[in-house]
Amino acid sequence: MPDRSHNIDPDRLLGLYKTMRRIRAFEEAAEAASLDGRVGGAVHLSIGQEAVAAGVCANLRPTDQITTTHRGHGHCIAKGTDPGAMMLELFGKEGGTCGGKGGSMHIADFDVGMLGANGVVAAGIPIAVGAAHGAKLLGEDRVVVCFFGDGAINRGPFLEGLNWAGIFALPILFVCEHNSYASTTRTEAVTAGPGATARAESLGIEAFEVDGNDVVAVDGLAGELTGRIRAGGGPFFVTARTYRLKGHTSVDPGAYRDEDEVSLQWAEDPMNRCEEELQRLGLAAAELETIGRQATEEMAAVAAAATAAPHPALIQAFTDVQDVGAPVWSALP
């Protein structure tokens, strides 16, 4: 076993750990609500991928912006979105981030620079590129981070978006969260060549690989690259290797995966690895348990609140469509 210890400020690592625990607890509460029918739509869990969200977003300012994917709960929480509003959104309830009109795959929170999850694979890439292009046009000093999965690298907008970011020298960090699966298919079975990093490099974009289950490594690399972007650099590309410990959706048991593969990956759970690092730095196990329990309690409370909350007013099905030629609502007979 190689030495995986790092030099990191214990307080910073503890902060990262708290974010990861809150994401894990949110996902577990969402999974439970999905399985018992309280959440109706598809829920794509990021269990096992929390270190990427926490490590990258710890380096972002409130004015920085991100886009994410259908598997984006972790990125939202790490960027600062209120989990209470997120859970209301998953439940399709009033007070959700999008008023219950978007659901899990369309969470957005513009107040914290979260420009939207997306239900279409790779669709967030051009949007993030455009947000960075907009920042440059408006002369605004911010970094845009674009999260996507390894399945996205086989769609055209990946090539187009990276090329665009390169020619316009945009202030954007692409983060390919490589969890090894494109829906229920192993990505390597449908991907020619050496993959994401090489594709980025072929377009002249400086690209890096990082152990995406090592939150300290992710944090360190993201810190370096966001710093270089703030100094006028960019775009940059990161492939963060991680693993989707659950199925494609909450109701997918992932039976197409080898059991040994999955159990090996649970041994690499970023949560455990972060805890080991914290204990090496002298934190007591009891303190970590307290953090874990607090996260579980927080997310149990938001799920209970979401369960009790009312649905949106029916007229909301007709609002915020368009100003010119807007639909007209009248109650069904």
Partner: protein, 326 residues
């Protein structure tokens, strides 16, 4: 008033809106050289290459980046070059631009103009000639405009740039050279979205159309007049929202409606206008509503074959005569 071409009117609209609002910019292929039809000629000299942005041939990202840039506060004018090429960006138009405001619960707006040069022009064949405006009228969140005259290409384009909704803006390639009177200055230049124009008054039959077919219908009205039929021609100008009040008012007066368009008749926007009138105005109708659009076949290259698909003044006048019982 002064005379401008349909093309020059659009150039003027973009220039005026870019002078008025620093957040407006245009992006697309070849814009620095004026665009493929010359409709951006000279603009890069005044506004620079950041605001008249030359892009790669990446329609999905031209459109998607415009969505992202609109979400963060700019107002992009997206040049799709040919309406046919915009099909490479349908996810970005339909799933992203049209839905972001609604899906995100009203947190964000996507103020975009998506210019789609359309229609048959110089034997351009099946992938450079289509009229696909009806598709976009089907998508909640989108506004669809299709000007027929230089004055409207000035005023509607300016209104589209000022609109906070994504606007699909259909310009007919065969109209670029059309000359017409346009207002010189001032706010009366603006043409409100959703308002039809009475192109020609008449009491016997209402012909509803848009884009290049307005001129064709006006020629048909001359032919009809020679047969003693007074044809009213309504230029819809905006397809979504369409001006029901103007169409209904005319049909109540004439009792007859013919909707004609260059696009394929099956599933064309004429079906929507015809069905709405048939549902709501059946008591006013003296004859069944008729449609006249293209047959459902790809557009040919060879001129005589292409002409098989063309709606002509003679064909419109003939249908009108049938509807008058001749």
């Amino acid at each position: 008033m002064s005379s401008l071409s349909y093309l020059a009117a659009a150039t003027r609209a973009v220039a005026e809106e870019m002078r008025r609002d620093d957040r407006v910019w245009a992006l697309g292929e070849d814009l620095g050289r004026g665009g493929v039809f010359g409709q951006y000629r000279g603009l890069v000299d005044e506004f620079g290459d950041a605001r008249i942005a030359d892009t790669p041939i990446s329609e999905a990202t031209i459109m998607g980046a415009a969505v992202g840039a609109a979400l963060v506060g700019t107002r992009p004018i997206v040049e799709m070059r040919f309406a046919d090429f915009a099909l490479c960006a349908v996810d970005e138009m339909v799933n992203q631009a049209a839905k972001a405001r609604f899906m995100f619960g009203g947190q964000a707006r996507v103020p975009l103009v998506i210019r789609q040069p359309s229609g048959m022009w110089r034997s351009s064949a099946a992938q450079h000639s289509q009229s696909l405006e009806a598709w976009y009228t089907h998508i909640p969140g989108l506004v669809v405009a299709a000007p027929a005259t230089p004055a409207d290409n000035l005023g509607l384009l300016k209104a589209a740039v000022r609109c906070d909704d994504p606007v699909i803006y259909i310009e007919h390639k065969d109209l670029w050279a059309l000359e017409g009177e346009v207002p010189d200055d001032g706010e009366d230049v603006l043409v409100p979205l959703g308002r039809a124009r009475l192109a020609r008054a008449g009491d016997d039959i209402t012909v509803v159309t848009w884009s290049k077919m307005v001129g064709v219908a006006e020629q048909a009205a001359e032919l009809a007049a020679a047969q003693g039929i007074a044809m009213e021609v309504i230029d819809l100008r905006t397809l979504w929202p369409w001006d029901q009040e103007a169409v209904f008012g005319s049909v109540v007066k004439t009792g007859r409606l013919l909707v004609t368009h260059e696009a394929v008749q099956v599933g064309g926007f004429g079906a929507e206008v015809a069905a709405t009138v048939a549902e709501d105005l059946s008591d006013s109708l003296k004859a069944p509503v008729r449609r006249l659009g293209a047959p459902r076949t790809p557009i040919s290259y060879a001129k005589p074959l292409e002409d098989q698909l063309r709606i002509t003044p003679e064909r419109i006048a003939a249908v009108a005569a049938e509807m008058l019982g001749d």
